[in-house]
Symmetry: C2
Subunit: 311 residues, 2 copies
């Protein structure tokens, strides 16, 4: 394997368009925009746990960055700068070349500069740190939800989990659903434009990485609220609903907003060509408690274990 | 092993003193000081490559952060915020508790807030991202050296390499040198106060992580300069000189400064109780070329292979 310096030069050194100093010194330098705060996220992906050595490296390059972009999007921030640290076994150059192509495809799609990093030898491990910017005080936190607000979900969570279940032989998808679900799994589209547009509309937000019920639970706990979901606003009973409620890895956004913003959010949905579905509302009650009501307003037992398949 | 959330809560969640939002949301938020740039460094340490699973975890916690602090110090910046991503095999709680103690000892010593991170299961891997602040335009780059400037080195590089050589049975140290060298290896002291004081005095700086000759070579290459070193300013011939010139892992600083700053730098050395040694000067010549002159000004062949022991 060529030296660290050679690898960085070959695959990761590109002119930084929006940084003062990119790859190549002791550290990188960036100049935050006046009046902005920095929003920072880091994720470590480990071979055998988060991906497999024979997974497509280009897809993995995309996804490794996209999962961090999603965290920044969920804060309502604009992604700006990324650092990549990667450990690789010897003789991984072909893999690295494909990985870099996928990574830069995602970086270009979201206007991100790769400003620094570290390469080393070891069991395959990818650690990305991403910085975004948001005007001071305008970040969307998990803890900002208020009582009797609407709970919204973007897109169709569950597709990535269905794609994975298909690959693992647990379900059998047919076209066109198969292609849609595999794309959701391999090339997740973080909701940056939505997150930016939600500033001033949403009171709290989180991205769906662990599953809708789990992540909504995190948001409600942080906001010290309970919530009810309406069964008739969810997909019909069956595998799609199970995946919708419990499947992770989609990187859609869950957010809360006051009812007065419904028309604005419908307009936003049309402008972004992205479904925004109102699935319930926040209520008083034990922090994080979720109740699902049927069309007649009666609580429905939706057994957690029904979702283990996708959790 | 407890869940990721439990581990983060137990070992890594402390009130962030200087961050808007610390551990626990989709991302952390910090507010950069007005008029400052951000200086950002990331390092990945892998078990088997950079440390061994039976290394003292508390020392490792210190060192994992300290090597990043050194990068920030070498830029003349004030370290501020850190993110930690760590992969661990199952059942590593005792290790993690010691690791966190060492990490926070270093964080406290240098006024750093741990604002976020990620824990996951996998082969032991530690990835730290650190960012510091520096007034706009005042960072010390590798590329800033000018012709006929002095080359300075802080402290006594080589001690960490001698300590390692002793542990590996390649040399035999006696007290008090043994304790000093083992401390340099296990608890390196990044030169933050020096880096800050060098703003406006030094023209370029780099930290000694690969060895003095190698890192000085990086600085000279980035500045498109050659240099001569004076043999009589170096330790006497022998193992100490070899370690001084080629031993890595000390995290001392190499920097260049105009001769008019000699008195100020001597005063700084006294104020910090830290030796600053003028070992040579920059010259015109092939970028990165280093010549070593004896007391009579004649070039000396200092065979690279003499240092392989420490490189």
């Amino acid at each position: 394997m060529p030296s660290e310096f050679a690898l960085i030069d070959r695959y990761f050194r590109r002119p930084a368009r929006h940084a003062v100093l990119g790859v190549g010194d002791d550290a990188a330098i960036v100049r935050p925009s006046p009046g902005c705060e920095l929003v920072i996220s880091t994720d470590m992906l480990v071979a055998g746990t988060h991906f497999f050595p024979d997974d497509d490296a280009e897809d993995l390059g995309w996804k490794a960055l996209a999962v961090n972009v999603s965290d920044i999007a969920a804060m309502g921030a604009q992604p700006r700068w990324a650092l990549l640290a990667v450990a690789l076994p010897a003789a991984s150059e072909a893999w690295l070349e494909k990985f870099a192509r996928g990574l830069f495809a995602c970086a270009d799609a979201f206007g991100i500069d790769l400003i620094g990093g570290d390469t080393t030898r070891g069991p395959r491990n990818i650690c990305i740190t991403l910085f975004g910017e948001v005007p001071i005080g305008q970040a969307l936190l998990r803890s900002g939800a208020h009582l009797y607000e609407d709970i919204w979900v973007s897109g169709m969570p569950g597709r990535a989990a269905l794609g994975l279940a298909h690959l693992e032989g647990r379900v059998r998808l047919t076209e066109p659903a198969l292609s849609v679900c595999l794309a959701a799994l391999r090339r997740p589209q973080p909701r940056v434009a939505l997150g930016l547009a939600l500033r001033g509309l949403a009171s709290a937000a989180i991205d769906v990485s662990d599953g809708l019920l789990a992540d909504l639970g995190h948001l409600l706990s942080a906001s010290s609220l309970a919530a009810t979901l309406k069964l008739d606003l969810l997909p019909p009973a069956g595998i799609e609903r199970d995946a919708y409620l419990a499947g992770g890895d989609d990187y859609e956004l869950i957010f809360t907003a006051a009812p007065e913003h419904r028309a604005a959010l419908q307009g936003l949905s049309e402008r972004l060509a992205l479904p925004l579905t109102r699935i319930g509302q926040t209520e008083a009650g034990p922090a994080g408690q979720l109740t699902i009501l049927d069309a007649d307003g009666r609580p429905v037992e939706v057994a957690r274990r029904g979702f283990d398949h996708f959790a």
